[in-house]
């Protein structure tokens, strides 16, 4: 990875300026010129190091209901159940994890009732109990992923 790309990743996970020429301001701060920084961000996206550039919105503040849910899926039915669960558009992320509770997914719905309904429907479709792990408290911090010098 080029020094420019590393500088951008390490310094641009938040705090993008809100002003008329934000890339210019950022470039001055990092010791580059505006055009170089814009091209640098474009390249990070093209190369897949960055999935998106822009505001990260806080779902709950927009009125949605979110939860983390898990199921104990028999190995021989795993792929079929994954398909059934993923078919719900309210299921945003779904991960296989190495545990007896081996399927973990995030459900995002318009409100709590809609969310409960999705859980009921998943249980009805798969015949498997869904354990609900709604967040009771968030200990939030900025994500500070560091890319070290090579």
């Amino acid at each position: 990875m080029k020094p420019l790309q590393r500088d951008l990743i390490n310094n641009l996970q938040g705090g993008f300026p809100i002003c008329d020429r934000p890339f210019q301001e950022l470039a001055t701060r990092l010791g580059y010129d505006e055009e170089t920084v814009i091209k640098g961000v474009k390249d990070l996206i093209t190369d897949g190091y960055v999935s998106r550039f822009g505001p990260l919105y806080n779902t709950e503040k927009l009125g949605g209901a979110v939860t983390l849910a898990a199921m104990k899926v028999p190995a021989e039915r795993f792929d079929q159940v994954a398909e059934q669960v993923n078919a719900f558009e309210e299921v945003a992320h779904n991960y296989e994890r190495e545990d007896t509770l081996n399927m973990w997914f995030v459900i995002l719905a318009e409100n709590e009732n809609a969310l409960l309904k999705v859980i009921d429907q998943i249980e009805a479709t798969t015949g498997i109990t869904v354990l609900n792990f709604p967040k009771e408290k968030e200990f939030f911090l900025e994500l500070r992923l560091e890319v070290p010098e090579e």
């Binding site: 951008l8 990743i9 996970q13 938040g14 993008f16 809100i18 002003c19 008329d20 020429r21 934000p22 890339f23 210019q24 814009i38 961000v41 474009k42 190091y49 960055v50 999935s51 550039f53 822009g54 505001p55 990260l56 919105y57 806080n58 709950e60 503040k61 927009l62 009125g63 209901a65 979110v66 939860t67 983390l68 994954a82 669960v85 993923n86 299921v91 945003a92 992320h93 779904n94 296989e96 994890r97 190495e98 973990w104 995002l108 318009e110 709590e112 409960l116 609900n132 792990f133 709604p134 967040k135 009771e136 408290k137 968030e138 200990f139 911090l141 900025e142 994500l143 500070r144 992923l145």
Partner: protein
């Protein structure tokens, strides 16, 4: 305890805010004047209205941050371990604040137990370049939590089965992002 997320007072957002959220949720224009470009696209004239509204959304927490969203996996963070801890109720929040402040913990939440099979009430997501790194980090967490730990476990993800950023689809639709 409410059954779901502790939604408190929702911020008041008008139609222009919603339009702005839709216009920016997939990203900002990569040009020298991104806010001006958005304003133009929304028919708002100059960049000032966009800047002021984004600043307000940031101030009230509707926007967590503005910047790049890194792709952990592509950056070499191949191991993703969800560490889960059984911590006594009277100290779990104090412990959570401490663990949430660690650099290598990307998310930290208190969640309900499901006894008897699931005694864990504190979840801390740890990303690392390898499982060895994750395990070292988890040992650090364990050391900090000390004798408050009654039981713990690391759940590694072995496969991503689905990953979508949820989007606002139309005005009034209460759905968004990731």
């Amino acid at each position: 305890m409410k059954p779901f997320t502790d939604i408190i007072d929702l911020p008041v957002l008008d139609e222009i805010d919603h339009a702005l959220i839709r216009a920016t949720q997939t990203g900002l224009p990569l040009s020298s004047t991104p806010y001006g470009d958005i304003a133009l696209g929304m028919g708002l004239g100059g960049p000032d209205a966009v800047k002021q509204r984004l600043q307000r959304l940031l101030d009230i927490g509707v926007i967590r941050r503005i910047g790049i969203i890194p792709n952990h996996y592509r950056l070499g963070y191949h191991a993703n371990g969800m560490s889960v801890w059984d911590i006594p109720d009277d100290v779990v929040d104090t412990m959570g604040e401490m663990i949430g402040a660690l650099d290598f913990v990307s998310h930290c939440y208190r969640r309900p137990r499901h006894l008897p099979e699931w005694p864990f009430n504190l979840f801390a997501m740890v990303h690392g370049t390898s499982r060895e790194t994750v395990e070292t980090h988890v040992k650090d967490i364990h050391a900090l939590l000390g004798q408050n730990v009654r039981n713990h476990r690391i759940l590694y993800s072995s496969r991503i089965l689905k990953k979508t950023g949820l989007r606002w689809r139309k005005s009034g639709d209460k759905k968004c992002c990731d």
